[in-house]
Point group: C2
Chain length 318, copies 2
Amino acid sequence: MRYFVTGCAGFIGSHLTERLLSAGHAVVGYDNFATGQECFLEAATRSNNFRLVRGDVLDPASLRSGMQGSEFVIHLAANADVRFGTEHPRRDLEQNTLATHAVLEAMRENQIRKIAFASSGSVYGDPAVFPTPEEAPFPVQTSLYGASKAAGEGLIGAYCAGFGFQAHIFRFVSILGERYTHGHIFDFYKQLTRDPRRLRVQGDGRQRKSYLYVHDCIEAMMTALEKAQQAVNIFNLGGQDYCEVRQSIGWICENLRVTPAIEYGTGDRGWAGDSPFVLLDTAKIRATGWSPRVAIRDGVLKTLEYLKANQHLLESRR
Amino acid sequence: MRYFVTGCAGFIGSHLTERLLSAGHAVVGYDNFATGQECFLEAATRSNNFRLVRGDVLDPASLRSGMQGSEFVIHLAANADVRFGTEHPRRDLEQNTLATHAVLEAMRENQIRKIAFASSGSVYGDPAVFPTPEEAPFPVQTSLYGASKAAGEGLIGAYCAGFGFQAHIFRFVSILGERYTHGHIFDFYKQLTRDPRRLRVQGDGRQRKSYLYVHDCIEAMMTALEKAQQAVNIFNLGGQDYCEVRQSIGWICENLRVTPAIEYGTGDRGWAGDSPFVLLDTAKIRATGWSPRVAIRDGVLKTLEYLKANQHLLESRR
């Protein structure tokens, strides 16, 4: 199969690109390198089956021509940080909702009808049911990020009904592992590198979150793409356990051998729209035979080891 | 209260504007007259409490200045026709999703934090539960229109969580009555005016739909605005009964005293994304004390009488 992967130089995109190549597929990778990293594509660029197109998902002409000849689009390019929506209230709309529409239109023009989409557990807002299943009650959105991902899902559903597309939609929890470039471990490690005596935490640290290790995530996607053949295939991707932010802090500090004074914020949310509890019901993806192999604590520590070995990444992002 | 009503010259907007004025409120009406009708505002313009601003909801500067001094925004302006999404795959995105974002941003700039929004039962896609409650399982969108309205709801939810807005979101069934300017009665009457011997119907005519008479709709909105005071208040608005398209055709033909040869289409949908059965659970709005007064048959006939008396409207739309 000939895949077109947007966000190919990102955290998940670069791993998925490598995985598709090693399974013998051809991949055209598309990235504007706003947050993607050249170095994440080192392995991919060694393959004759890989071609890189530098372009923005909001550039219709570039998308259209880049997509030519591909059979399957995996749309991962996005503003992936849920926290800063209220500071930039157009960013998620443009980079997630409008970009997804641009991708769908470029597909239509190229007569490509298969898409996989990186959505998020954020689309559930503040759910009342835990673990939260794909069929949870119609959620009220609580973040611009979640709203933009839900809107992307909605557009994809409409293209499936209106234009005969087939879609695989993945609602991720936070992903951990090699090439991780944003999130609490990144923030905490960056803070502790600068000053190991002090750690500021958004919210009261009692937030409970599920996480998934990136290679477990990639295998789940590959399994779903192979086995699920409805018109619209929606899967929660996450682990069956969760941890408190405080626990993760403990693992990180132990590993770094630091004992900072920890300054917690107030309230059960790290930011407006933060969900104080994230635990997705993953029965549907597990029914395909997939299950995660790496526990949260190990995922946190692998992420930390990766950041320790790649400190240049700490400077490349806000 | 000082209301700002987008789409004030539309079907629902003009009725709501009159209703607000007669309750003693001040109304700034906003419309670009793309589908709104000057004549619908005749009564409103006789009130000293009404001011009209001509402008487009996609024009941020015009929205921002028009909104100045208002306390409550009622956002009704939209592409309101669910059927033509696949012919114009950017129209719903722009006129519904992006316009809603523009309205929210103009509100933020004016420090207005109360919004009512005209959503649609289309956001439920093809529901599995009838009557369909507000808390139905997370729907897969089946039309670009439904997707755009769901995306508007999502943005509003995010602004409530992120910026302290309060919202009333109304998911309408099809509305009937005076000033109706699109939908099956409009289409059928237009066809039969041209040629009373022949009627073409999209789909097999077995589609079952709920309808609500416009004055019942307006009273439901007024009741909800008064009584519901959560941060996000979502209400289905519809009747408790439904009819088949074939029944409605019978009422129309009997009223017009015509016996056309009826040419049905095939399949249970009138168009891609048409929902073959629409019946919303309205227990939540009825719990406020509201109930509809006009039955579907009477609503269809009132609509028909209105169109007969206002044939100029038949020419004003596609």
